[in-house]
């Protein structure tokens, strides 16, 4: 459904150039939930934004159903509202001066009038609001009258009004409390099954990723260092960064696991070194050359010399 090929995004500030996303390849099948996980600044949100047209890729190709999304720095969408996003912070992603009804219906303005009429029907709005767990009489209220969880439900309803096929969920539950997070995660799972949606799920929370996703891509400094089915990644992590990530998860019941730590930056470095070279506890001389991807098992690849 989505094909990302050698995509790169470079941000420039003055003389500094930073690759937020570098040479990334990823393909997503219809009906799949792919997780993107990594620390802050690893490029996971930037990658999501390039899919929804909010950031221009510097290089590479992104195709949606075989059609290129970016042509000469211009975003070509197949049909408005086909790809929708739910952002992390429902406080800032909803216009405080709009009523809930208007917020949810706003994406329809991008459609032609016939479709707009059809999709903007009152029954459909009410059905959708009820489906995401809001009440009919919430329609004329303003965002500030809702709690965090309810605001995120509004954001989900707004994303669903155009009947998207593909949704980018950028940390949709990071700002929510645990008890409400569970409600929203379950809702997203149900909606996916009902409407046969495809998700990209961006999160830094490994247990949420494990619960939601079929496949997961671990990002570090703009590069996917490991990708594979969730089960395989969690049970048999190959890349040292993934191992550290999993070992630092505080578990509820296990006694302290053996913890792997980052290493301190080395004196020696090179431009073409592995992205994780600076902090890798296992690094060797060979790591000064960038590693290629190698398979660990079916569909599970990672980028490290030392395995």
């Amino acid at each position: 459904m989505i094909d990302i090929h050698q995509v790169r995004k470079t941000f420039k500030t003055g003389a500094m150039k930073i690759d937020a996303v570098k040479d990334t390849n990823l393909s997503i099948q219809q009906g799949e939930t792919v997780g993107l996980v990594g620390e802050s600044g690893s490029g996971k949100s930037t990658l999501g934004k390039m899919l929804s047209g909010l950031e221009t890729p510097t290089d590479g190709m992104i195709a949606y159903k075989g059609i290129e999304l970016w042509k000469k720095k211009k975003f070509k969408r197949l049909r408005p509202g086909e790809i929708q996003t739910v952002f992390q912070d429902p406080q800032s992603s909803l216009d405080p001066r709009m009523r809930v009804k208007d917020i949810i219906l706003e994406p329809l303005l991008a459609l032609n009038s016939k479709e707009r009429k059809e999709k903007g029907k009152m029954e459909r709005l009410i059905y959708l609001m009820k489906r995401v767990g809001l009440k009919e009489d919430h329609m004329n209220r303003y965002p500030h009258e809702f709690s965090g969880g309810q605001r995120q439900r509004i954001a989900i309803a707004r994303a669903l009004i155009t009947d998207p096929q593909f949704m980018i969920l950028d940390e949709p539950t990071s700002a929510l409390d645990i008890s409400v997070q569970a409600q929203v995660l379950n809702l997203l799972k149900e909606l996916k099954r009902e409407k046969n949606l495809t998700y990209i799920f961006i999160s830094h929370n490994m247990s949420v990723i494990r619960y939601m996703c079929d496949r997961v891509a671990v990002m570090y400094k703009g590069k996917i260092v490991e990708i594979g089915p969730v089960q395989s990644i969690f049970q048999n992590p190959k890349h040292p960064y993934t191992k550290i990530l999993l070992s630092s998860l505080p578990s509820l019941f296990e006694e302290t696991k053996e913890k792997i730590n980052f290493s301190h930056p080395p004196s020696l470095s090179s431009e073409s070194a592995c992205v994780f070279y600076q902090k890798c506890p296992l690094r060797q001389e060979i790591c000064l050359k960038e590693p290629c991807y190698q398979p660990a098992s079916e569909n599970h690849t990672f980028s490290c010399h030392l395995q």
């Binding site: 620390e39 802050s40 709690s147 965090g148 969880g149 309810q150 409390d177 645990i178 008890s179 409400v180 997070q181 569970a182 409600q183 995660l185 379950n186 799972k189 830094h204 929370n205 490994m206 247990s207 949420v208 494990r210 619960y211 969730v230 969690f234 550290i244 990530l245 070992s247 630092s248 998860l249 505080p250 578990s251 509820l252 019941f253 302290t256 913890k259 730590n261 980052f262 301190h264």
Partner: protein, 323 residues
């Protein structure tokens, strides 16, 4: 007992009347102990921490109870006296490490300032101690970092420095309010280890406030669970996490995605977090509780010892024990 809070209630007064945010909170921390408070937003966990240091705003009123620290009631002493305790006897670490540091002051100077204030040392010696303090929180190249400004450092480094600041005196009690919430998991693990290590080394007691059950299980010997400004369950961390007695604690644990069994659907807690402005007559969790009966909605449960050293405020729990 290092710290004893007895029946403390706090009210916030606003234009539309007052809201009770803490209701009869009692807790104690002994020397060298790590106590955790866990709860969701609005449960009153941060207010509990701030009330100990009397850092609440002018609209807050601590209406009754006492907070004994080494025997003195912190609520009764003069402002000057509590100011002398802050930082010296009780250190505090806040959630957001950027806002807790002075943005235009070099790290070494910031630390030295605190050391000068709490210990009788010369300026030069204070700076030396500051560098040593940075070393104690495992900062590589402490001299280099001492000459930097906060914006030049990563979030994890900044939080280490905030901890170094809080531990500079060194205090008898460290209060850490969500010390790792703004950090990545890998950095979080390092900071938690650091807190544990400092606790071991100096025998400092720690009160840690978090919404993350994982942090609690890694760090704390005892745990309090708060909901709606009340303590609903308290006991040893093991007891609370493995054998929770209050339906809220049980529900909270069930709402967490389980790494071992991801196929298990999450048991969401219905409804929203309680609005403190509309406190119900009965149990504050009754509206969202799956086992609450009519009695729960009209009568408020008290914290009772259901197992040795394990307390819960639930009518149903008590009944279970009697049966």
């Amino acid at each position: 007992m290092l710290l004893e809070m007895k029946d403390v209630s706090v009210e916030f007064t606003g234009m539309r009347g007052s809201v009770q945010v803490l209701k009869n909170i009692s807790l104690n921390i002994s020397k060298g102990e790590i106590l955790g408070i866990v709860g969701e937003s609005g449960s009153g966990k941060s207010v509990t921490a701030l009330s100990i240091l009397r850092l609440l705003g002018n609209n807050a009123k601590t209406s009754n109870g006492e907070i004994l620290f080494n025997g003195t009631d912190l609520l009764k002493i003069r402002t000057k006296e509590i100011q002398a305790l802050r930082g010296k006897k009780i250190g505090m670490v806040f959630q957001e490490p950027m806002t807790a540091l002075h943005p235009t002051m070099k790290i070494g100077r910031q630390l030295a300032e605190v050391i000068e204030r709490h210990r009788a040392v010369s300026k030069k010696a204070a700076f030396r101690l500051a560098v040593q303090a940075l070393k104690d929180v495992h900062i590589h190249d402490p001299e280099l970092v001492a000459a930097k400004y906060p914006f030049e450092l990563s979030g994890g480094m900044r939080q280490r420095i905030v901890i170094a600041l809080a531990m500079a005196a060194p205090p008898d009690l460290l209060i850490a309010d969500e010390p790792t919430t703004a950090l990545d998991v890998t950095i979080q693990a390092e900071i938690l280890n650091l807190i544990k290590e400092l606790n071991n080394k100096n025998d400092t007691s720690v009160l840690i406030i978090t919404h993350d059950m994982g942090v609690i299980s890694q760090l704390c010997q005892r745990t309090l669970v708060m909901y709606g400004g009340e303590i609903v369950e308290s006991g040893s961390t093991n007891g609370v996490l493995k054998n929770p007695k209050h339906p809220y604690t049980k529900a909270l644990l069930n709402a967490l995605p389980d790494l071992a069994d991801p196929a298990q659907p999450l048991q969401a807690i219905p409804g929203e977090i309680m609005d403190l402005r509309h406190r119900p007559n009965g149990c504050s969790f009754a509206a969202r509780c799956s086992i609450a009966g009519e009695y729960c909605r009209t009568h408020q449960p008290a914290l009772v010892e259901i197992l040795p050293q394990h307390y819960t405020a639930c009518w149903k729990g008590e009944k279970e024990q009697n049966d």
